[in-house]
């Protein structure tokens, strides 16, 4: 069966150059970088070279890079570390309604500990208004954390404008750049980031490795891990050496291939959006039509449900994702889609395609063709259409539903 992978926002395959580089540090160079002997020194040097590469890829200094286990850990460490290091100055955190759970659930946990949280709304495209950030700032604000690009709807946030505001007020600004890095330029100075999160497996490195950038001079301490003195006291635990080597190589390639990669992805994205909107009725593009990451196209297909579409696509060899309740593991559809004002019943019909370097225009054709027949089949089975009167009266599950 033909297989087409359109879920690169979930994860990417490890590219051969990265795997090859990493392999040496799985099989041969097994030393612990903390060790004083030859084996340790050999690996220590490689780890520091990788750190240079990661730093260079985002316009940072190597000393400002901490290796972590991935995006969630970087987000958690950034937010928790800033908040705990600065809690003598204030207790207010500003974030947005469309953040990844790694940020949102972290700040919710901090709220339970007594911190004040402002979750900024977004517009219909999922975009934060920088003026809302300005208006939310109080004398007690100690952190602003806003993502660069959204995983579910692809919208790119105006982080450059937000950072001007945080700078004026001297408030640390954390940017989750997991989805943007490798697709659009991510430079910590241009964006105005004080802390910035990236993840390896979104850019053709393996899972389990990420990095946190912390600008020199930022009042931040690592507050979650208690252990050894690795990463200059900023991340206890023996380094994931193969992962770090892979991350270094992947970042080097991401920057070298950025222009070519983003041109390619933009072409595929524009083609899939154009074809889906033209060939299928009752479909909405979710996220911003223009200010979105290359390679990311997300939709809501009305009157049908996301998981049914995913299963149907999978039967035809196509891998995509959805923000429907059935795929989120809860009874609620994606918080991101709801934050953009999409009604529950429409959000259940969401499908995200995210393209990678190996995809082609032929894959776009195959997806659109397949999707047309899936939508037709599922709609023929669906009791709802544009005339359907949706009322909660007949629903037995009302108690679990917050609509």
């Amino acid at each position: 069966m033909r297989r087409v992978y359109l879920d690169h926002s979930a994860t990417t395959p490890v590219c051969p150059e990265v795997a090859e580089e990493m392999y040496k540090y799985i099989t041969g160079n097994y030393g612990n970088p903390t060790s004083v002997h030859y084996y340790g020194r050999q690996v220590r040097n490689a780890v520091e070279e990788a750190r240079e590469k990661v730093a260079a890829s985002i316009g940072a200094n190597a000393k400002e890079i901490v290796f972590t286990s991935g995006g969630t850990e970087s987000d958690n460490m950034a937010v928790h570390g800033i908040v705990y290091t600065n809690k003598n100055k204030g207790n207010h955190i500003i974030t947005s309604a469309v953040e990844h759970h790694a940020v949102l659930n972290m700040v919710q946990a901090l709220e339970k500990e007594g911190f004040d949280i402002t979750v900024l709304p977004v517009d219909q495209y999922g975009m934060v208004n920088p003026e809302d950030v300005r208006n939310a700032i109080t004398g007690n604000t100690i952190l602003v954390s806003i993502m660069h690009a959204n995983n579910e709807i692809g919208t790119i946030q105006p982080v450059e404008e937000i950072s001007k505001i945080t700078r004026e007020h001297g408030i640390p600004f954390h940017i989750d750049a997991v989805q943007s890095f490798g697709k659009i330029p991510v430079n910590v100075d241009d964006l105005g980031a004080d802390l910035l999160t990236i993840s390896g497996h979104k850019v053709y490195a393996p899972k389990g490795i990420g990095a946190l950038y912390v600008r020199k001079g930022t009042r931040w301490k690592q507050t979650l891990f208690h252990g050894g003195a690795q990463e200059r006291l900023r991340r206890a635990g023996t380094e994931n050496v193969p992962g770090i080597i892979a991350m270094g190589k992947a970042c080097e390639l991401a920057v070298a291939d950025l222009q070519e990669e983003s041109d390619h992805l933009r072409k595929l994205r524009d083609a899939v959006i154009e074809k889906v909107l033209n060939k299928i009725e009752h479909v909405r593009l979710t996220g911003h039509p223009a200010e979105r990451i290359p390679g990311h196209a997300s939709f809501c297909f009305e009157f049908i449900e996301g998981e049914s579409m995913l299963l149907s696509l999978d039967m035809k060899g196509i891998a995509a994702s959805s923000g429907s309740a059935c795929t989120s593991g809860s009874l609620e559809p994606s918080h991101v889609l709801l934050a953009t004002g999409i009604p529950h019943e429409v959000a259940h019909g969401s499908i995200r395609t995210s393209f990678g370097k190996d995809n082609t225009l032929d894959d776009v054709e195959y997806f659109v063709e397949t999707m047309q027949s899936i939508v037709e089949r599922l709609r023929s089975m669906s009791p709802i259409d544009q005339d359907f009167d949706s009322t909660c009266a007949s629903c037995k599950e009302g108690k679990s539903c917050h609509a």
């Binding site: 009157f303 049908i304 449900e305 996301g306 998981e307 049914s308 299963l311 039967m315 429907s324 309740a325 059935c326 593991g329 009874l331 559809p333 009604p343 529950h344 019943e345 259940h348 023929s380 089975m381 669906s382 009791p383 709802i384 359907f388 949706s390 009322t391 909660c392 007949s394 629903c395 037995k396 599950e397 679990s400 539903c401 609509a403």
Partner: protein, 127 residues
């Protein structure tokens, strides 16, 4: 995550559609929750009340579609009393089980059937 039977009923659902001359119609769920099941039954009164025909339309996930299909297969040709003895649990078991998180939100097909039978009885009683 789904059993082969669930996937079979999702891929080749039995008795999809509507009955224009239905004797009873039952609908449960709503689009906000992500699942709606609508069941149409035709009841043959001769020699005891039997469900002579049944169709469904469902908006929902794979489990919602598979349970709808399965319930129609289970009750077609059965008496009303037999049909009333079928529960959501019976349907899930007939599919060799459902993932735990699907047991409540997407396993409403028997409820839709019971609602359709009630609709049939209400209409009949009203006559």
């Amino acid at each position: 995550m789904y059993t082969e039977k669930v996937m079979d009923h999702f891929e080749n659902p039995r008795n999809v559609g509507e009955l224009s001359n239905a004797d009873g119609i039952g609908q449960v769920g709503n689009p906000t929750c992500g699942d709606i099941m609508k069941i149409f039954i035709k009841v043959d009164g001769d020699g005891g009340e039997r469900i002579s025909d049944i169709k469904f339309k469902t908006f929902g996930c794979g489990a919602a579609i598979a349970t709808s299909s399965m319930v129609t297969e289970l009750v077609k040709g059965k008496t009303i009393d037999e049909a009333l003895s079928i529960s959501n649990k019976t349907v899930a078991e007939a599919l060799d089980g459902l993932p735990p998180q699907k047991m409540h939100c997407s396993n409403l097909a028997a409820d839709a059937l019971h609602t359709a039978i009630k609709d049939y009885k209400d209409k009949k009683y009203a006559e």
